[in-house]
Structure formats: structure tokens, C-alpha cells
Amino acid sequence: MVGGVKDWFGLVARLATGGVWIAAGALKLPHPADSVRAVRAYDLLPEAIVPTVGHLLPVVEIVIGLCLVLGVLVRGASVVSALLFLAFIIGISSAWARGLSIECGCFGGGGEIPDAAAAYPGEIVRDVGLLALSLWLVVRPASRLALDNVLFRTAHDPSTDPTTDHITDHEGRCLDGAEEELAQDR
């Protein structure tokens, strides 16, 4: 029962993190140059790799997002997802600490430049939450409605996987039967 609830939570974690990655990647994809500039703005990476990272980032984001939403290679995708969120948290924190205003100071209609730094705490909280969900999936990748459940039946612990619980329990029952027999012998 507890395993079932956890599986549903796994699904929620997958959809939340995966959805965020797909949205983030899709926003950047049409504007690669803009993505490169955004990476450069953090002023953390050497210029030699900035364009590569800027171009690679939206692609990786979308692929990881798709893996998580579909439930393919959940553990591997979650490891990458967690590392990316960690990198973003470090990037935003360091930009905040250095007093950089990364976002364009244009969005407010008021007379003063809206303080881009004001958005940093919220962004960090959001990313920490998503990092936590990613880590959950790294530790416990089993979840409902994941393609992995169909592709990798034996890899799952039957007690936590509802699909193997009743249908593919054949081997497990064999072992149980043998143990019963042995027990009767003693």
C-alpha cells in the first residue's frame, strides 16, 4: 500500500520535473544565440565552451524532460536532471552573491529599473524543490505509468511494482513454493 502511494508520488515527481525541463528547453530552442548569451551572462564558464553549452543546454533539457515524462531510463534521467538543477542553483546563487542582474531590467512598467535580484530567492526555492524531486527519483525511480515498467520487468522489486505483483510473479511464486516445501521437511 505504501509502495503504491510512493509510485504515484514518483509519477507526480516525473511529470513535474519533466514538464519544467520541456518548457524551459522549448522556450530556448528557437533562439540559440539568446541561450548562449544567457549562459555567458552568468560569467562562470570560460568563453571557449560558452557557445557549446548554450547550444547543448536546450537540447539536453528537452530530451531529459521527455525521458522523465515518458518514464524512460528514469534513474539516469533523474541523475542528469538533479545535476542540472544543482548547476542552476549554483549559477543563480553566485549571480545573486555577485550582485549581477541577469534578467533584463525591462519587464516592469514603473519608473525605476525593477531589481532583477528580487527574483533570485524565488528561483532558488523553485529549483531546490525540483532538485529534491529529482533526487527522490534517483533513489526510488519506480513509478506509475512509466515506460520503464513495460521494458524492465525483472529490474523492479515485485513488492513495489504493481504490474509485476500479479502478472509476472511467476518466478517469485516458484521460489516461495520451494521454500514452503523445504520448511515442511524440517
Binding site: 534578467e103 531590467g105 525591462c106 519587464f107 529599473i113 521494458l151
Partner: protein, 260 residues
Amino acid sequence: MAQKKSSHRTADEKAAAAAKREARRARTERSRAEAEERRKKAKRKEQLTRFGLIGAVLLLVVGGYFLITNLGSDKPDTAPAGASGDYGMVVGDADAPKSIVIYEDFLCPFCGQLEQTVGDQLDAAVEAGEVNVEYRPLPFLERISDYSPEAANAFAVVLDESGPEVAKAFHDLLFDNQPSEQGPFPSKDDLVDLAVEAGATEADVRPGIEDMTFEGWVNAAGDAASKAGVNSTPTVFVDGEKVEGQTMAEIAEAMVGTGS
């Protein structure tokens, strides 16, 4: 316990029980081995599936990367005639005692406000030979709308075709007629109309505005600004010093103020 119980049985019974036990054990052993074999086979198959999936994911990433790197503008970054070497247009006396550089985006509302606030004073100062100003338009808000790069390109086209004076008038008109960041955004036709209003000949500027002739130059301007550490618009430099003011009044003071 079992020991004590079996002591009542005969030797034959004991042997039969032992044989039965042995057979049962062998059967168990066998079914266990078979299960193990099945499990191993399934494992191997799944391992293959896993490697296949990992390969597919890597292929997707690499393919997407090459696609996106070739997605960028293939237009050369040829500069419009009359442009400065730094992706801008300089107005005013080159030997003026004060030099101002403005990085701006025609869509950025705060750039528009800055223009409203200091535009006239700046023009007067340029007229009087006190300052020269370099306007560097950027496609900074291309994420929000294509209007941003389209307007910057139109500016370059007008500069190229009709010269700096018309381009400056066009620049001012773009800010006077600035759309909201929420849209609706002016079309390329609207840009042509504004260019004509600024004094350009429609036949000269329409093709360049419609074909994004200076898209490469506009993108290069964005990259150059990014490399110069300009991450927001407007960013103003006075005599090479970045104006760090946080309010409109502070920036305006640094640009046209009479104080220190």
C-alpha cells in the same frame, strides 16, 4: 525434535523418507535453476534494451545539437554603410568632450522611457557639440517577439539606404511608437511605413526590411554586447564608464546632467 520422532520409525521408512526428501530437494533445485536461467535471459534482454535506449537518447542529443548549431542565422554579419565598427551608429561631433554609448532594444519599455526622458536634451547637447552618442540597437528581447530583431534590422536597413539622419529620425519614431511587451507587435509593413515617415524611400528600404538583410549584423551586435558584459537594456556608457544608476533619474543625470 525431528530426531526424536524418527526414532520410532523403521530403517526402511527412514530411507524412504530420506529419498523423498532428496527428490523434493532436487526438484526444488531444478526449478530454482530454471527460474534463475529465465531471469538471467530476461536480464540480458533488458540490458540490451537499456543500452539501446541510452544510445538513442545520446543520438537525439547529438543530433539536436548539430541541428541547433546550424539553425543560427546563415546571413553574413555585413555592416550597414555608415555604421560604427561596434555595431552602432554615432551621431554628433567625434571630437565632442563627452561620449555616450547606449545599448538599447526597440522593444524594451525602459529604453523607451529613457528616450522620452533624455532624448530631447541629448539631441540638444549633440547639436551644441557637447557630446556624441552611439546608439547600439540589440535584438535583446527576441524571446518575447520577433519585433525586437526586426526593428533592429529595419534600423540597419534605413541607415544603410538613407543615411544617419533619416536613421536617427527612424530611431526616434520607433520609440515614439513603441509597442507594449505584451503586444500586439507592429508588422514589417508597419516598420516600412515608419521608415517612410522618417524620410526613407519605400522602394529602398522595403526589400531589406522584409528580407532581414542585416540579421547577421544584428545578431553579431547581440553577441558583441553579451561579450562586453551587457546583460540588460538599456545599458549606458559615459566616456567608457558603465552607468550603474538604478533609477531613471540617476541614468539621466549621468547622461545629460550638469552636475559633477
